[in-house]
Amino acid sequence: MRIAIASGKGGTGKTTLAVNLALFAAETEPVLLMDLDVEEPNGSIFVEGVLQSETAVYREVPRWDQSACTLCGKCSAWCAYNALLKLGDTILVMPNLCHSCHACSELCPAEALPMKQESLGKLSYLECGNLRFVESKLDIGLEQASPLIAESLKYADKMFSDIGFQIIDSPPGTACAMLSAVKTADFVVLISEPTPFGLHDLNLAVETIRQLSIPFGVVVNRDGIGNDDIYKYLEQEGIVLLAGIPNQRRIAEIYSQGGLLYKAIPEFRTSLDKVLRYAKGIR
């Protein structure tokens, strides 16, 4: 089964939960952890694994072949993302807008738009006991996270289909990148905090996951700050509260040293166990 850890709001504890859950579960069975927060993956700070391999990931974008082009301008009219523009006697390709759909390349009457490979990012695969850890990192300056996330999931399907328990650390927000990361999951854990911001963005995340029809539950982090509106919301909406993580200085200290919480705090271990049991009961 595949569990995705997501949140609406950033900085609510996705990586903390994902890393601890993965290593805790790996005490008893093989686990794959994928850090798909590709714009700023940081799970590797907590996982002391041995690097096994690195894989470059590419995508395809059109390249303008000036010598073949008849300047008919059809590519510019067709492109749904306006990534091809006809400027006088030049066709300008804007790779940052291209979604690699191949339409221009396939349909160009003069075959003047061959696709070429362009670097997208890098996958690093580490091993740490029972844990297989894959970090997916987008090249600096690129705007689209989704293509790399999709390629990373294909890589996981190819390389780790034998690992029955998989955890995904998703990007924050509720946009394309988050959707790409969670859509293959069997269960989603949404982690938020009991503040107005936390509740607002949790609400967005809940609406998003409901659209995908994936079972989900909520973990409330930093319990004790803010107010109890989030608990009222969960009750009203009939959403399961999987666990609460108290707002403790000790937790922040361990986190800031790159430590693992479940090893130091028994209550945290209990919380992880609750999340795991619930998620596995879904299947």
Partner: protein
Amino acid sequence: MKIIFTSSGEGWDAKIDPRFGRTDYILLYNEETEELSSIDNREIQDVAHGAGPKTAEKIFSLGADVLITGNGPGGNAAAILNKMPLKIYIKAGGMTIHEAYEAYKNNKLYEGE
């Protein structure tokens, strides 16, 4: 000189549309012929991606010398506009086309990058 305005309507009394990529109209004033023509750009409302570059492409095809707009083009659009010898003036949002043209003649507009 050919001057382009991003506009929320047609004619001299229309207001400058502060948006570049998603401007409702593109107005073109030809100082030589004293003609003010307009291009309906409202189809851009249905475009999810790359509105800026698409509008920039249209402006490129008009071959103007000056662009007067509001918030200014974003990075993608600017990359295209920079390929033509076009002087860009911004912060004209809220003015009528007539007021913006007068402000331009009197050097009272801000130059965009």
